[in-house]
Symmetry: C2
Subunit: 309 residues, 2 copies
């Protein structure tokens, strides 16, 4: 288990998740077994409700992600990804080093055949209450148009199977609604998305401007490159923090509190992986575990593999 | 005069501006002279307080900007830009067709020698009350790193001379604070900005993440490409609209009401030009006129010409 506040909040979050997961789901905890057992006892929790896998090393935030996988073979993140690749577990959530999680996702669990580059995504709140999914939000900061086109398919499948949105409306983030608007990347992506939509891969509804993401009137899935997507998320986080500073509450921006967002799914790899915020609280860890369970039950990776065959 | 609500609100805004401009400034109104006179009378205003230039044609939003300049020679926008190029007026503000204003700026007034591409910028509110300038916000959606480097100089000069910020802190919008973060464009721009800063062109302080734009703790000038800058503005406008929808007021987001923002300066051309929102109200027109006067008095174009020599 990782994250700035591990293992305390991770164990606490796992205990909180216990009451919400299905009876045939099992939570496996990777980390310092003695510490985990002590914390479970403190929570008044019978340790048999979990599976505990003892690991002795810790990947620090300063560790080089690739080297960490070579050198810290007995860390929770390395053992966890091995188990995931071997099918001993069905999904993995971690608030540890994002770099190490990405190495695990792409090098151990591996990218689904046919997917050019995996994406990370975030489900954001909207005024209407229906979720909107944005991808990519920071993994691919230089996106070729054909990668954006694939994100439409990935996002559409996730929104339909995990979020339960029927025939999700997929839009391209752009600075105007007309097809001819935007930069080289978005203009070319628009054309590819039209072709993909006509062939029935997904339901492309055109461009969406940033002003209309959170109304959910235009789209259920918003496709953009990781530089822009990450900027959108950071801006919202910043505005949430400002509300805090000026003492205003805002039920809408409240949704950008990372505690409410159940982590960031890595999409396009062979098993569900969810990245948590380094500062994840117990509540955030709980959301992350539940999101992972949802993704497993929705068979998201199998569906994506099928779609990219 | 242009804009969705012209000429009524434009005349009204000009009358409102009259009380705030310097005694030796003159406002010149271009448009249907009879309509302007009737509106001035309605406002109880002596028409001699203005100069009126009668024009007989109107550039419509649907008109092709370049063709409008060839075919509608007697429209307010075409005559206004000719007068600006000839020095009959010192600055121009318009809420008319943005495309036509850009044609006038680049083809009639012309780009300052040495400037690769002009920029449009917006001064946004911040929590601390000090303004922050973002450029580009939509003109150059495919920005080469050397164009971003020039925007640092342009923004720095504007912030210092028009906004009165001493030795403005210039930052590059990025998705992390470290020098190695970002996409190809931002990594290369970072290096150029370091060189420019070392040679004393401006005070480059490094990367700024979108979450920290509105605290003004990091930078006074934020440099980004037009796609990202426009997305940031649209997102803020959208969040402002959401506050309206959910019935929350937020003193901070209120600042993104376009009525409060005095138009969008076109920077890097040989005279001050300010683009207003098509839906500009009288209050917005007033702000726009005052911003234009400020830019004229600050000799912004002369300063930029000097800097790019």
């Amino acid at each position: 288990m990782g994250g700035d506040l591990a293992p305390e909040v991770v164990v606490k979050g796992a205990v909180m998740a216990l009451g919400s997961i299905d009876s045939d789901s099992r939570i496996v905890l990777y980390g310092d077994a003695d510490a985990i057992r002590a914390l479970l006892a403190k929570e008044g929790c019978v340790e048999e409700q979990f599976e505990i896998v003892a690991t002795s090393e810790v990947v620090e935030m300063g560790d080089h992600p690739v080297r960490a996988f070579q050198q810290k073979r007995d860390s929770s993140i390395v053992v966890g990804f091995q188990h995931l690749a071997e099918g001993k577990i069905d999904g993995l959530a971690s608030a540890g080093s994002t770099g190490a999680i990405m190495v695990g996702s792409t090098q151990v669990v591996k990218v689904i055949e046919g997917v050019i580059r995996p994406a990370i995504s975030t489900v954001v709140p909207t005024v209407m209450g229906t979720p909107v999914m944005i991808l990519d939000v920071g993994l691919n900061v230089d996106c070729r148009p054909d990668i954006l086109e694939q994100y439409a398919l990935i996002g559409s499948i996730y929104a339909e199977s995990v979020l339960g949105v029927k025939s999700p409306r997929v839009a391209l983030l752009n600075i105007g609604t007309e097809a001819t608007k935007g930069n080289f990347q978005s203009k070319e992506a628009y054309e590819l998305l039209q072709v993909g939509s006509e062939s029935g891969r997904y339901n492309f509804v055109g461009n969406v401007e940033a002003s209309h993401i959170f109304t959910s009137k235009v789209a259920d899935v918003v496709v953009c490159d990781g530089f822009v997507g990450n900027t959108i998320l950071k801006l919202c986080e910043g505005l949430y923090a400002i509300n805090d500073t000026i003492g205003t509450t805002n039920s809408f921006l409240e949704g950008f509190n990372y505690e409410s967002i159940g982590g960031t799914p890595v999409l396009g790899v062979n098993a569900p992986v969810i990245i948590g915020h380094g500062k994840s609280t117990a509540k955030a860890v709980k959301s992350m575990i539940l999101s992972t369970e949802q993704a497993i039950r929705a068979k998201i990776s199998e569906r994506l593999s099928e779609a990219f065959k």
